[in-house]
């Protein structure tokens, strides 16, 4: 399967502050009552963006200055909790192309990578510096360079990290592993045939 090679992502940013932002917050469970992922974008962070009467609360995603942002800036342990792929799906469908955070929960990280959303880590102080630039100049574009592992915003450059397997997959256009997994079918049957519990 030919996928786009994701070597860098450029776009405007928005900060969603706080550590341990869980997937229940990213997409509340009641919006998972669906048999497709279509339309999930509008419910992204719903309960922190809107009150009981569906009126917008103060939230960075509701702030006109950050409309059109395509890079999400988060804190530590971003995406913890439920394994629901509805969370990265909602993030992607809202229009985000990449996430920069201090750290990511493991299942969330894997889910994002499979959808072609790079999740890169930056240090707390660098993230604060980036967030500072973004809040004073929301129109400023930022580039995440996955090849050279750096983030460029305005005149500033920051280092970033991403797990090697994810970086390999993204930059070589193989972030969705299904194609390669299918190639292994014969080997799979061989391994399965040696395991008693796999037999009928």
């Amino acid at each position: 399967m030919a996928l786009q090679k994701i070597t860098n992502v450029t776009g405007r940013c928005v900060t969603v502050p706080g550590d341990d932002v869980d997937t229940d917050r990213i997409i509340p469970a009641r919006y998972m009552k669906c048999v497709t992922f279509d339309g999930l974008g509008e419910f992204l962070f719903y309960d922190v963006r809107f009150d009981e009467n569906k009126q917008p609360r103060q939230h960075p995603l509701n702030d006109p200055r950050f409309q059109g942002a395509s890079i999400l800036l988060g804190g530590n342990n971003f995406g913890c909790g439920s394994s629901r792929e509805h969370a990265p799906q909602a993030i992607a469908r809202y229009g985000f192309k990449a996430i920069v955070a201090e750290g990511f929960a493991e299942i969330f990280f894997g889910n994002c990578t499979t959808l072609g959303i790079p999740c890169v880590c930056a240090s707390k102080s660098d993230l604060q510096a980036i967030a500072g630039i973004v809040s004073s100049r929301p129109e400023q574009e930022m580039t995440i360079d996955l090849v050279n592992l750096k983030i460029e915003i305005g005149t500033q450059t920051f280092p970033c990290t991403i797990r090697t397997s994810a970086r390999e997959g993204l930059t070589r256009g193989m972030w969705d592993s299904i194609g390669e997994l299918l190639e292994g079918n014969d080997a799979v049957d061989r391994v399965a045939s040696g395991l008693p519990y796999m037999q009928r």
Binding site: C80, S82, R84, E85, Q89, E106, I107, I178, V188
Partner: protein, 478 residues
């Protein structure tokens, strides 16, 4: 030096390494491993999109006889009568039924008498076995590790991968041995042990690790208790948690519907035994806790590590490190609690007994024993929700349902219920719920301002009968 080399060669392996090696198919170009998933469990929330992807690609389920489905998250628990009043929920069960039929998958459907929460059903049916790999589109799949399986929670794209190839791409985890040694004090339960571990190691302390739960405390645990602990590995950031299989494991599995029978049983047990970590294996990290130091533990905040012993008070902002302050303040504000206040005596409005953490027979037996002849406090809504139809039936056979209803609990049908409130069981406004479930995130129990306190079933019972957070040991004079 030859002697050194030989020693290295014969060094033992962890269960994780053995199971991994038995299931590794090959290395992928990104450095990850293509890992065979022997058992695939699916449910209605995270599978429909995966089946749509299969249809779009014109692909089939590769090992349908190793794929098992149940319906749990959206099932109403007041009545399982179809059609469900919530048409979205109704559409989801119909979709799963259709997919199971079309692709030839075993479905523990509502009329089967075997339906329930996926992590209760797998072990109960004997599908969860030692030395196997298990995946499910649900983060609490770690529960199955209690049997010495390596069990991963996965996203929907990986559900698709496993359906189509019976494998997934994954990087190898490190292994941390989390030992608890000694005897728990009376009135302290498996739930307290895991809440204590998460409190000490943090919500992301386990990132990149599989947790091997070991030591005399886990050795003495029943399978249900081991499941409670492994269930919440993910709350500590560890994707996988497991306990080495032993006689307790084999006794539990004997004569279950999907357990091997006859001569195959003996062969299986011999094989399973071999998967346990070798005494001379090497761990990437080790930690140890003293069982006797663990108190009945209650969460007060918005992540599972924000927990304290029942006799303790909430932290003060000044008393924690700089890096923790913002999250403590956020939690206090959301929970509408004061820093430094005692947790004991905090009024509750809802008590929830159930979920894949504590919705098994032993949980209901223990609570029934405690609440027999007692009454739920005025103004408290108390729900008892069995984790499966099988648990419900066994409870009924033992007359436990009557004890619950006579005490003023609502006795419900099997499902996830108020653990995540995808059905109509929800908190209202900023109600406080004493809950035996596993997550206390903002809004988790269905109200955007609802507040969850995680605790053991006995502590839920104590809160239910007193109307406030209480020490079960005092309430029930243990």
């Amino acid at each position: 030096m030859p002697s050194f080399k030989r020693k290295k060669d014969i060094m033992g392996k962890t269960l994780f390494e053995k199971v991994w090696e038995a299931h590794a198919v090959r290395e992928l170009s990104n450095g990850q491993t293509q890992l065979l998933i022997g058992t695939h469990l699916i449910h209605e929330v995270t599978s429909p999109q995966a089946f749509s992807m299969l249809r779009a690609l014109g692909l089939k389920v590769r090992y349908p006889h190793r794929t098992f489905a149940t319906v749990d998250h959206i099932v109403p628990t007041d009545s399982q009568q179809e059609p469900f009043p919530d048409f979205l929920a109704d559409a989801m069960i119909k979709e799963l039924r259709k997919n199971a039929l079309e692709f030839g998958i075993t479905f523990f459907d509502l009329p089967s008498g075997k339906q329930g929460i996926v992590h209760v059903v797998g072990p109960e049916q004997g599908i969860t076995q030692p030395g196997t790999t298990i995946a499910c589109g649900d983060s609490h799949t770690s529960t199955h590790g209690a049997f010495g399986a390596i069990a991963f929670g996965i996203g929907t794209s990986q559900v698709r991968d496993v359906l189509v190839t019976q494998t997934m791409a994954i990087g190898r985890l490190k292994v941390r041995r989390v030992a608890v040694e000694g005897k728990l004090r009376s009135g302290v339960y498996a739930k307290d042990v895991i809440l204590h571990i998460i409190r000490k190691l943090g919500v992301n302390g386990g990132t990149g690790y599989a947790y091997e739960f070991a030591g005399s405390t886990f050795d003495a645990f029943s399978m249900e208790e081991r499941m409670t602990v492994c269930n919440m590995s993910i709350e500590g950031g560890a994707r996988v948690g497991y306990v080495n299989p032993d006689e307790t494991t084999f006794a539990f599995l004997k004569d279950r519907p999907f357990s091997p029978k006859g001569a195959a049983w003996d062969q299986a047990v011999a094989r399973w035994r071999g998967f346990a970590s070798d005494p001379d294996c090497r761990y990437d990290d080790c930690v140890e806790f003293d069982a006797g130091a663990i108190e009945p533990t209650v969460t007060w905040g918005i992540n599972p590590a924000q927990a304290i012993g029942i006799g303790e008070s909430l932290p003060t902002v000044a008393g924690v490190s700089e890096s923790e302050r913002a999250s403590i303040q956020e939690a206090l504000a959301y929970m509408k609690l004061e820093e430094g206040q005692p947790i004991k005596g905090l009024p509750i409005q809802v008590a929830f007994l159930g979920s894949c953490t504590n919705g098994r027979l032993g949980d209901f037996m223990e609570v029934a024993r405690l609440i027999k002849g007692r009454r739920v406090a005025d103004g408290v809504k108390a729900l008892a929700v069995p984790g499966s139809q099988d648990v419900a039936a066994r409870c009924r056979d033992m007359g436990l349902d009557k004890i619950f209803t006579e005490a003023g609990f609502e006795w419900r049908e099997a499902g996830c219920s108020m653990c995540l409130a995808m059905n109509s069981d929800k908190l209202v406004g900023d109600q406080i719920c004493a809950s035996s479930s596993n997550r206390n995130f903002k809004g988790r129990q269905g109200s955007t301002t609802g507040r969850t306190l995680l605790m053991s079933p006995a502590m839920v019972a104590a809160a239910a009968v007193t109307g406030c957070v209480s020490d079960a040991r005092e309430v029930f004079k243990q």
